[in-house]
Amino acid sequence: MTWQNQSPVVELRAISKDFAGTPVLRGIDLAFHPGEIHGLLGENGAGKSTLIKILTGVYAQSGGSVVIEGREVRITTPKDAQRLGLGALYQDAELVPSFTIAENILLGHEPGGVTISRRAMVEEAGRILREMGLDLDPSRRAASLSAAEMQLVMLATLMHRRFRLIVLDEPTARLSAQETALLFEVIRNFQRQGVAIIYISHRLNEIKELCDRATILRGGMISATLEAADITEDEVTRLMVDRNRSELEVSNPGYAREGQGLRLEALATARLKPLDIEVRPGEVLGITGPIGAGMEEIERSLGGLTAHSGRIVIGGTECRISDPISARKAGIAIIPEDRRKQALFPNMSVSDNVSMPVLRSLARAGIVTNGAKRRYGEEVMNRLNVNPRQPLKAIRFFSGGNQQKAVIGKWLQADARVYVFSEPTAGVDVGAIAEIYEVILRVASEGAAVLVISSSLREILALSESIMVVYAGEQVCRLPRSAFNYDSLLATTMTGKLSATPEAVQ
């Protein structure tokens, strides 16, 4: 089947979107044909996810229209989108753990009337799995599946619902090479059945291998749509990088000093190959790579959340880190990406939140007065410019940026020698980003070893003294910041092969 000869199944016409006056999408025109795999590329903030959320009913567009098979449609909820045959596999998709694979695949579409025919369900699910080329027992419980298998079963649920168009958002993030190959097989199967597929990925080789054509977004506009044959690294980099976007006026002048900071010796986890790195006191090491490449494993190992092998040495002494408590004792402060879930007590006040790790030193004869906590909270808020300056207000009422500053504030007096920032500006308003960068650099200048794990290359370039790229669970390179410019770092993260700026590698 060739998709070129068919009329498009879904068309986007002049879609625009702004958030509180800030334009995020400025007039997107795109058409998706049956049986086409359409890649979507773009930097963080280029508008990819906003576009997808408009298409699947999570956001409403500010202007323009969505046309399905020639008819203009209104999509206001995810359910509308499903009804119209638009499905999406998000990165955080979930299954019902106690249900079998068959029950999950057919959830909401079970065969039978009032009673459900289990046998028909297993047969139907088995048929779908075979059709997809998956060798999984439909009677297995979802809870027993690996992350990769869950991802494949999620795909199977899309299969059953007979969608016209499926959006896959970084579907290989949690998969190994072998599993990725299987996933591609499944995607091609959808393609053969005439489903249009939008494939979002940061990995250029996947786009090249899988997609018929790829659209590159830049600053909320379409930069270009390339045919598969024309997709090259240079071309994509040129089209992706937004020269007009003002660079942040932050850079790391270099605070690294002699001494022993953090040393990892052959640190390895199930998804990370043995890794040796050293971060000196005052040094900021930026770690980047495609989502799921294994960068987050470094954070999880240091935070005591993942079983690991190898040695973690801080200030010259080896630390055994088996859980978050031992991580804290070793002087490691983790500022996680998912603040709300992992770092904040949303209903408690700012001062209660920030004084959590230092209660012992605030206590007088075992009693911590509210006054002591409030004064400490005020002090932290002043130092980090957390606004509004209301230490007794519940932290959930603060903006993302101010919440993030408070999370960092938690660790300021806690004598951490190693700071790990994971996506420190995710969900942070633009105005607060520079302030957070300042705080991170100040932490470094005071002599802590700092790891910044981020998928935003601008962030990495702004903050780092040295940069490490991780690809497919492996360290690609670890070089001084000066070895990279934006283009070469982008190319390295997309291909997993070092392409440093020539003049810097001597």
């Binding site: 995810p78 359910k79 499903q82 998709a93 979930e94 299954l95 019902v96 753990p97 106690s98 249900f99 029950e103 999950n104 959830l107 909401g108 079970e110 039978g112 009337g113 009032v114 009673t115 459900i116 060798d135 999984l136 027992d137 297995r140 419980r141 027993s144 599946l145 690996s146 990769a148 298998e149 649920t157 190994s176 090479a177 072998q178 599993e179 199930a270 998804r271 669970g473």
Partner: protein, 334 residues
């Protein structure tokens, strides 16, 4: 990683556990129950008799109905603390209405009142966004107050001539008491609802992962409300039977069923290794509690020891089951 994942695809679930652990997980609780039963049978010649079994069944009727009802709510992911007082309320409504409307309509209206209680609970928990514990705790106080208000603290007697109504609780078909038959019918129906129907399927999905259910287009709120109605309805049936058995409605006393029901449901969840409540397990759980009560009575064990024994069995069964189904990080304390 790549190889381990592919191996997993070929191997069946949990291939690294021994047959013994699998056996214990599935049959452990039942083995313990059977051993306790055999122990009583050895200790007392009157224990393992048909008539004693009949007595046990008769004693557990109301408790079993309440427990089966609670099973649905817990499966759907919530709590219902008002079930005990729902029994009392429907019992009073039945006795109160019989002289007014006649027995048939009285029973129907009492069951309707029960359904309304469940509906209100369900609506508050879903659309009202309140916690199930709080809502149903409040509901049980409200019902307790109403019960006192309606009865003035006195029992309401049912006229001795209401023979058709008395048959519900006191009649027999052959050697078997009518309420036991009603219990078995409700149990069978309830089991089918849970294991075979769309309703039971969706209640499980909602309780296990409401987000996944929501994204799959399942009306989550509807099934939570449905579970509360079903629970209240079962309590209503129990209340009607209770009134019929004693030919009267008591203003208090229903609250005792609540704790028994929770014990039975969580004990039942360990039966057959399901790890989550199911109707068959709940019934066996209630049977166990009443069997112990009867057996210890015959052996002459003091009441205090019975309570102690039941409590220990509950903790051990649930604890052993948790050991057999270890999660990586356990941070749930409800």
């Amino acid at each position: 990683m790549a190889t381990s994942a592919t191996n997993n695809q070929i191997k069946s679930t949990g291939s690294n556990e021994t047959a013994l652990i699998r056996l214990l997980r599935t049959w452990g609780t039942i083995i313990v129950i059977a051993l306790v039963g055999i122990g009583f049978a050895i200790a007392s010649p009157y224990f393992a008799t048909v008539s004693n079994f009949n007595n046990i069944l008769f004693a557990m009727i109301v408790s079993a109905l309440v427990s089966i009802g609670l099973t649905y709510v817990i499966v759907a992911g919530s709590f219902d603390l008002s079930i005990g007082l729902t029994v009392t309320t429907t019992s009073i409504v039945t006795a109160f209405l019989i002289p007014v409307t006649g027995p048939f309509l009285a029973v129907v209206l009492a069951l309707a009142v029960a359904c309304c209680i469940g509906l209100v609970n369900g609506l508050l928990v879903t659309y009202g966004r309140l916690s199930g514990i709080v809502v149903t705790l409040g509901m049980s106080f409200v019902l307790g107050g109403l019960n006192q208000y309606v009865t003035n603290g006195y029992q309401i007697a049912v006229d001795y001539r209401e023979e058709a109504f008395r048959w519900i609780g006191q009649g027999r078909i052959g050697p078997i008491a009518v309420p036991v038959i009603i219990l078995l019918l409700v149990f069978l129906l309830g089991w089918i609802v849970q294991a075979r129907t769309r309703a039971g399927h969706y209640m499980s999905a909602v309780g296990d992962n409401p987000m996944a259910a929501y994204y799959s287009g399942i009306p989550v709120y509807r099934w939570v409300i449905f579970s509360f109605i079903l629970a209240a309805l079962m309590c209503g049936v129990g209340g009607v039977i209770l009134t019929s058995i004693s030919s009267s409605a008591q203003p208090v006393g229903g609250q005792g069923y609540l704790l028994e029901a929770f014990a039975a449901v969580y004990l039942g969840a360990t039966i057959l290794g399901k790890g989550k409540p199911h109707v068959l397990g709940t019934l066996i759980g209630v049977l166990f509690l009443y069997m112990v009560s009867s057996g210890m009575n015959m052996v002459g064990v003091p009441f205090a020891a019975r309570q102690l024994f039941n409590g220990l069995v509950l903790i051990l069964a649930v604890g052993a089951n948790a050991m057999l189904n270890r999660e990586e990080i356990h941070l749930k304390f409800i």
